[in-house]
């Protein structure tokens, strides 16, 4: 029982990371109808920026986090300008390929700078964690959970209660109408990219002390997060969170009880089953093309 609870805790912690990245996917998808295959690279960049600032330069941890997030805001905006904006009027395929190109560029750029050997980032807290009964509560996982809850709450309030949040929602629902109403659509999409980059970066910063920081983390996180958002129901914000958490738990239990080498396969197996029997995911609706 203690073991299972331990797994549940770890699974939810891992799942929170997937959920954060999946949220970034979903927001960009809703705003642009495009899947950003470089979403995981935002996380990788966040992690590497922390290595540069907190480890190499030895700056204070909190300051490093703030600077990293600020850099990601800028990066998200630039990403929008360079990768999405020129292709905004084309079908989804060229845009997908363009984001894949960006992902290749980013990963190999970092590879040139840092080489293939994994880096490690210390956690925020000196304490490793504490025990309650048989279950060990790792401090970093607790932090991940706390931040995820804060982010989700913030996002909810932002989109539902602020004017700019509502403008962003309007943009994602009907660009043409939004622009007729005087909403600067291009700016709203740029903001969406910036915010998605921050979400990804945050996930990278949080997960870095748990995993090793390497170029490979980008694609593995991105694929899982994408799977999570499809399981939850593509384009659905609640779905992304639930899907991410579910995936983290499934994966952790699968690795513990079934097979470690195939750990990365469980996510895709579950996804496969979903795609076959419930492609709209847990919360999604069926969408049909209108004539």
């Amino acid at each position: 029982m203690g073991f299972a609870l331990q797994l549940l805790f770890t699974g939810i912690g891992v799942g929170s990371i997937y959920a954060l990245v999946a949220l970034g996917f979903v927001l960009i998808y809703r705003a642009t109808n495009v899947v950003n295959f470089a979403q995981g690279d935002f996380a990788m960049l966040g992690a590497f920026a922390m290595i540069v600032l907190a480890v190499d330069l030895g700056w204070p941890y909190w300051l490093s986090i703030l600077i990293t997030l600020a850099v990601l805001v800028l990066f998200g905006a630039l990403f929008n300008l360079g990768v999405y904006y020129p292709l905004r009027n084309r079908s989804f395929l060229p845009v997908i390929i363009s984001t894949i190109g960006a992902s290749i560029l980013l990963e190999n750029g970092v590879l040139v700078a840092y080489g293939p050997q994994p880096q490690s980032l210390p956690g925020l807290f000196a304490s490793q964690g504490f025990n309650i009964g048989d279950v060990f509560f790792d401090s970093q996982y607790l932090l991940i959970l706390a931040v995820t809850i804060v982010v989700v709450t913030f996002q909810y309030l932002f989109f539902e209660r602020t004017l700019i949040g509502k403008k962003m929602q309007a943009t994602s629902q009907d660009k043409e109408m939004a622009s007729l109403l005087g909403i600067p659509v291009a700016l709203m999409i740029m903001l969406t990219f910036a915010y998605s980059a921050v979400l990804g970066g945050l996930a990278g910063i949080l997960v870095a002390p748990v995993l090793f920081v390497s170029v490979g983390m980008a694609s593995s996180i991105a694929l899982k997060a994408f799977a999570a958002s499809i399981i939850g129901g593509f384009g659905d914000v609640t779905g992304a969170i639930v899907g991410g958490l579910a995936l983290g738990v499934i994966e952790t239990f699968g690795a513990a009880y079934i097979s470690v080498p195939y750990k990365d396969g469980f996510a895709f197996l579950v996804l496969f089953v979903f795609l076959l029997f419930r492609p709209q995911g847990i919360f999604g609706e069926r969408i049909a093309e209108k004539a």
Binding site: G101, I104, L105, G109, L111, A227, G265, L275
Partner: protein, 598 residues
Amino acid sequence: MTAGTTTTTAGGKAGQIWLGVVLYLVTAVVTVAFANFTMLSAYVLNLLMQASTYAIAVLGLTIVLGYAGQINLAQAAFFSLGAYSVGLGTTTFGLPFLPALVVGVVLACIAGGVLGLTSLRLGGHYLAMVTISFQTILSLILTNWVSLTRGPDGVLNIKRPTLFGGYFLDSGHYLAMCIAALYGVGLLVWHLRKTRLGRAMQAVRDNELAAGVTGVDTYRTKVVAFTLSALLGGFGGGLFAGGFSYISPDQFSFSESIVFLTMVLIGGSRSPVGTVLGTCLLILLPEWLRFLKNVYLAVYGGAVILIMVFMPDGIWGFVTALWRKLNPTMRIAPGEIAPLPLTREVGRADGSLILRVTSLSKHFGGLKAVDEVDLAIARNTVHALIGPNGSGKTTLLNVLSGIYRPIAGRIELDDRDVTRLKPHQRAGRGLGRTFQNIRLFGNMSVIDNVMVGAERPGHVVPGHAAGLTRHALAALDIVGLADRAHDAVGSLSYGHQRLAEIARALAGSPKLLLLDEPGAGLNHIEKNELVGLLKRLKGHGLTICIIDHDMNLVEQIADHITVLNFGRRIADGTPEEVLRNPKVVAAYLGEERVGASS
């Protein structure tokens, strides 16, 4: 010659094609002989071996992505099925090369078919995800099922074919065989796009909804494209394994699938020439860029973005577009066009019904878009369907052509129940239609658009390819567009695009032609021409059901009018009866509040 006046006869065109084929064969023989008889260094040999076997797999992507417009992010996985079948087949299982290759191709085919059957109903991002999942799971199996696949160490000492006294054991000879295979596959893929299947794929790519209504079984077409792609992946992989005699799982990872995809896109996905160009370029590029080896992949990623932005159709697409600009398209000489029998219903204006719709309903949530509508269309008449905006006309048309499923009611076309049929099946029964917002196959030529219409199920055009061309030209001639046959459909004016869409429907000799606001957006002169055209079509024996807002146009041509309002039929009869009906006047001009006092 000056632009716009080039006239080419059919004979001249056939001559050009033959010249192309001869050139192709000569090049093929020369390259194969070169590979066969020249002593190449091991370095060059390896590069060429990789290029030729990769190119075969990438040609698969030309079919699925370039022709059919479906994404496949697992080509490396299909490649690995072929490679591991040959690898393990010729070592662990002691099979000769050829049977092992066949096993690989069959396995890839089955995997592709199953994947396609299960996921192509969804398409788009889902397909991307399913293929990624398949790729990831297969990669994991290759690495971890050590007892079968030998795990990360890979498979060593893979055999080559022992045919002809071991002739192909020599690397140069084996390479020559691979290049010959590439030429063969290239020719087949080139030919495919001018076949019925190839045109169907391109129609699906350009406008899936219109493809279905025009008679293309879209789901089947996508599955076939996907399976063919997997087949070529497996074939290329099998040859690859024999060429290098060593394979390991990391050669077939997800990132390799991305490389395959980039190759096809950089070269130009719509042409096999572009595909082979892209493949060679991306294999040679790292060799040329050796001096910046370190940042090569980063540069490459940047190049992918730049190419997508500046050359969306790839290098070859860019070149052909330039070529077309410099060389105006062929014009059709007027003498070539023979008149076309438009329908097999001539002389049957006997009052019998071609379409009978009984209490048809379609609701969207609480909205009753079509509510228990009855409709009867008599043979060889023009029947107009009118009503204010939002009265359910287009929804009714969508239910009639099978895009929407009705929640109740019955549709009989030519006395046969078609209520449960799919759009392409209804097209096969002789139902043609156009769309309010024009839906042509935007990247195909005008005549190719029309050919898709002529190739609807159950419509036999005699005389093979030449007969089909004649038939399509005749359909274009009726609407007055024959001279634009070889132009890109996107280059037509708005009014001409409407006519091209009508020609596409006409080419299938429809029993009933549904026209959704054919007059919308046309100017006065164009509208008059449209009236003339519709009258001529009726004279040819066609039955037409037309939606339009222009009462002037409707009055000029309609034999019978049905009026819808809020999804319900409010009037039905001859134009004189209907247009004087107070209910109709009220629906259009607003309810007159007679005696309203409260």
